[in-house]
Amino acid sequence: MDRIWKWIGWQPAWGTLAGFALVILGFALSAIDWGFITLAALGTFGPGILREMGLLNDQDEFQRRASRKAGYHAYLVTGLLAFFLIAYYRSAENVLEKADVLLELFLVILWFTWFFSSLLDYWGPARTVTRILVAFGIFWAIFNILGNLMSPVAMFMQTLLAVPFFLLAWTAKRWPRLAGGLLVLAACFFFFTFDMYKIIGPDPLARGRGHIIVLFFGPLFASGILLIRHGGRESDNSDTLIAEEH
């Protein structure tokens, strides 16, 4: 097991792992009854609450700092979005018909921000971006292979669309700022191609659209900004570090 964590480069505390298992279980059982989704809530927030109460001590100081930082980032992003949405709904007299869709969107943003921030702490900008791009490429390839099992030509052609992700991952290591710029452009391209901009419109929170933005546009855009901002810093084995005075 240690080897797997070493390879992943992120060894979560056992409380985090137990929480993750509860989230999966909660979502799986929600197919039977939505009441089970409370298990996902317990899994997401339970370990953190227990740690803050001093009842769970499963993290070292680096893990603790990463958790708190990720939580703070999630608070900033989700809070900001909440205010924008309140302004949008109250000033434009837009009616929110399905509040649960909005709540789901908040949860997805919360999880995504927490996860992305954690990855950054554990892996650093360059490695985080490279791995996200490789994961995107693999996901895209598998998605297209499975979706075109009956048509080898279509399968081949559409799987080629995964290649840019791998190329960007390769570029990110060598020319991080160039890759960052390309990623921001790609994110903007997808934003319009997949009609993501329609999140602001008469049907702002159509089921699924918000999730696509968070899970597709979000990682690409955030990765691009990261690469532009950090460049190649921290991607080498430099023994220099930046310390902020608190």
């Binding site: 100081e61 921290e234 023994d239 220099t240 570090l241 005075e245």
Partner: protein
Amino acid sequence: MKPKHELNNQLKLHRLKAGDMTQEDLARAIGVTRQTILSIEKGRYTPSVALALRMAKVLGVQVEDLFELKEDDHG
């Protein structure tokens, strides 16, 4: 605006000097995860004073040998 200081980090050097100690060995000796040692060595994490002291003790050096302030570029 928060003032920033650059630190020179010699942890990896002293870890290897101390009988080719691995990150895992050092982590176990001071009660943290290997990821913590890696993050300190990579410069992504500045340890607490207590942890820095524990590392120095295990490696048989002074904290100043592991970390030192660079010239402050910001005056």
